[in-house]
Amino acid sequence: MRVTNSILVSNFLSNHHTNMSKLEKLQVQIASNRKFAHIEDDPISVIYSQQANYRLQRLSQYQENVTMAQSWLTQGETAMMDLNKVITSSYESAIDAANGYENNADRNNVAQYIKQMRDQLLNTLNTSFGDKYVFGGFNTVGKTGTGGEQVPPFTMETESYVDGNGVTRERGYLCFNGVRVSDNTNPAENALLNSLSQETIKFDIGTSTDMDVTFHGLELMKINVQVGEDAMGNPIMKDTNIFDLMDDFYRCLEDDTQRDPGGLSGASLINSFVSPLQQSQNSILSSLAEVGGRTSRLDLVDSRYSQDEINYTQMKSDAEDADMEDVITRLKMAEAVYQASLAVGAQVIQPSLIDFLK
């Protein structure tokens, strides 16, 4: 094939262009530490990179959710331990009070103590995490009352009555969202309370895996206790709540005309509170165990996510990052080739016959 100067020049130029493109590509790879400057340079790596990035983003969302769930549960746990202490000291007082029933002054002291415990119970039910009530189900912010004050989910209504000695006493009722919980005979309201007590806040801690992060105060308070014996010695069972138990206990201590459905009075009446209070404590303890179970599960999930994060970061790095040693070696080679091609090109395209004719 006949080769002319213009062929030599155009070959030189096209190879020069190729060399420059290679150098440019390598330079961008080194400067940005990315395997590909644009998505069309390596579509397969783009696919892996997108998958890895997506997994990492979802993972970080789940990790945040797990951390926040743990905080909620810890707050609930602390409050439940308070409840446990309240109930423990209450039934210890019950044992003491039953033994020293005849001493009115002592009995009165215990009564006042139990009243405080009852109020503390109410207070604990309204524990908040930040500005949100933990045991109120979806009622996390309460409401604003008529006087502008903040009304929490659990409140107490009082009703006065006259006891057997003609003394006016007060009875406290637990209310949730303003609806009376204790001794409520209205079936609509009872149905409402039942459905509200199932409301728990859930977070998504894994692919469509939801975890409850709250307990409902109504569920915590529910117990089924014996409130006396009938004529044939069979126990009479009643569905009630711990608050009511505490309120009954308080009034039994203060007012010696109180009788229970089985006709007990006096010291034996006080004694009859010990067993239900222990039952209440067991109920709280089993809820505590469930909290423990949930936090353990969250810990396991968290450590698995930490491992996953490492794996996905590795996958992302494999897909996206340039291998520095490889790229620098190739850059050096490309530079050498470039310089050689320039030198050779200069030698070849310059001389022509004209230089040699005189």
Binding site: M1, S6, S10, E40, Q61, K143, D204
Partner: protein, 513 residues
């Protein structure tokens, strides 16, 4: 009998031919890097002895030829290589133009972190997740509002840019057709000049033919061309089987177009014949018609919805599908929830999350009118983020059943839309958004490979042409020396003949003078 001035005449022809040779060499050298120049070569023959075939030729004298004469001044060019080059050039400019268009589209989908669309989708659901953890917090709700707006803004932006690019490709169609017509007009002028010049002088019109070849090279980048030169020296150029130039007749390409909403012409359709009449024949793009060239690339980019050979409408359709699925499923779930009363408005259900800029009310059972260009966040949510329906139950703090400000069940359901794999025709949101990005990456990658491969084919064809037709300075210098020596030699012969004649004329028959 030998004519007296025979020798001088012979030498003179030698001088003429050498001078012509020097001129041709000079012309070649001056045009060594002129684009499209074909090297020219002088073809000489010797004159036959003048009486070789005549009745009265001498029987015993050796017959000497009468010198040299120029037969033809020819250009050395291969028309086969020209055709090869033009065919490959047509394919190359198709790929190159497509690559430019697709690169622009790729720029829209890519940002520094890898992609703008996939990031916006995960951002939206990140916002829903934040609202799961804090249903009543104004700041978290503002966060989800801004994430949703980032998504709709990105989609609007991409869609609008695609539309603009479509308009640019459309204008390019018009520009290319006009250029083809200008070139074919030049071609007609050249045809006239070449025909006349060759008819009068009987020598090929070399430089004019070079110009014609340059025009044909340029035309080949726009569209597939078929051409031939007939036996009676007339040149015919055909595009898609239509004779656009037949010697000096010019039938220019025409365009049909429609009028857009601003009254400007758009959607140009090139073809032949009067666009207003039914006899208009549009160009046939595809096998059997136009298979390459810049015109086809612009039209493909403007019109093609084919996944094998995608153009702008294909990418717009993908964005629209994403927008439609966002509108349908996010709204469906959002409408099941209740808004919050924290800003003082009553809690409502059945409220949209995404709406459109169009004035027609949105029907989520028929989202075919939703495009990526008209999707937007509901105005009521833009005004007040407490209008996002996080709760699954109505909120009313005066009613014990409705103290639901902490209810996050609808936010949870909205967030878990991201996990669903069964959404309409797209599967899952992220997978679809991600496939849009990989689609453009793969398409552009394929196109760029084709450009590179085709470029080297074109370069090879061009090199082969240059090998035949290009000027080599060394060769021309050698020829220069040859002609120079021939010229000196012929001049010497002339001087010698002159001396001889001088002897005969001035010194013979002077005996006795």
């Amino acid at each position: 009998m030998r004519p007296t001035f025979f020798g001088i005449e012979v030498a003179r022809t030698g001088i003429t031919v050498s001078q012509k040779g020097l001129d041709v060499t000079g012309h070649n050298v001056s045009n060594a890097d002129t684009a499209g120049y074909t090297r020219q070569r002088l073809v000489n023959t010797a004159y036959d002895p003048y009486n070789a075939n005549s009745l009265l030729r001498p029987l015993d004298a050796a017959m000497v030829g009468g010198g040299a004469r120029i037969m033809i001044l020819d250009q050395i060019r291969s028309s086969f290589l020209d055709r090869q080059f033009r065919t490959e050039q047509t394919a190359l400019s198709d790929w190159t133009t497509r690559s430019e268009g697709l690169t622009y589209i790729r720029g829209l989908y890519e940002n520094a972190d890898g992609s703008s669309i996939t990031g916006a989708i995960t951002g939206l659901f990140d916002g829903f997740n934040a609202m799961v953890k804090e249903s009543n917090d104004g700041q978290q709700r503002s966060y989800i509002r801004s994430q949703a707006q980032v998504l709709t803004d990105s989609m609007n932006h991409i869609y609008n840019r695609l539309e603009e690019q479509q308009g640019d490709q459309d204008l390019s169609v018009k520009t290319v057709v006009e250029r083809i017509n200008t070139l074919s007009e030049h071609l007609v002028e050249l045809n006239k000049s070449i025909y006349r010049s060759e008819a009068l002088s009987n020598q090929p019109a070399n430089d004019l033919r070079d110009k014609r070849n340059l025009i044909l090279d340029e035309m080949a980048t726009y569209v597939d061309i078929e051409y031939e030169e007939t036996m009676d020296n007339k040149f015919i150029l055909k595009i898609d089987g239509h004779e656009i130039v037949n010697h000096i007749t010019h039938d220019p390409m025409t365009m049909q177009h429609s009028i857009d909403s601003n009254g400007n012409p758009h959607n140009f359709v090139p073809g032949f014949g009067d666009p207003a009449l039914p006899s208009f024949v549009p160009l046939n793009f595809g096998a059997g018609g136009i298979t390459g060239g810049e015109l086809k690339a612009h039209i493909d980019m403007r019109d093609s919805n084919d996944p094998e050979h995608p153009g702008i409408p294909y990418f717009m359709e993908q964005m629209n599908t994403l927008a439609q699925h966002l509108v349908k499923y996010v709204n469906e779930q959002h409408m099941k929830g209740w808004t919050s009363t924290t800003s003082g408005n009553a809690s409502q259900t059945g409220q949209l999350f995404f709406e459109t800029y169009s004035t027609n009310p949105l029907d989520i059972n028929d989202v075919s009118n939703v495009t990526a260009g008209n999707i937007k966040l509901l105005q009521a949510i833009i005004d007040d983020p407490y209008n996002i329906a996080a709760s699954s139950v109505m909120i009313d703090t005066s009613n014990p059943a409705n103290m639901q400000k902490g209810n996050n069940e609808n936010s949870l359901a909205l967030y878990e839309l991201l996990d669903r794999q069964d959404l309409g025709t797209i599967g899952s949101y992220y997978d679809f958004a991600s496939s849009i990005v990989t689609d453009i990456a793969v398409t552009l990658n394929r196109c760029n490979s084709s450009v590179k491969n085709q470029q080297s084919v074109v370069d090879t064809a061009d090199n082969q042409r240059a090998s035949i037709s290009g000027v080599s300075l060394d060769e021309e210098m050698t020829n220069l020396i040859t002609y120079q020596h021939a010229f000196s030699g012929a001049s010497r012969v002339l001087t010698t003949m002159d001396d001889a004649l001088d002897n005969i004329i001035n010194r013979m028959g002077r005996v006795g003078l």
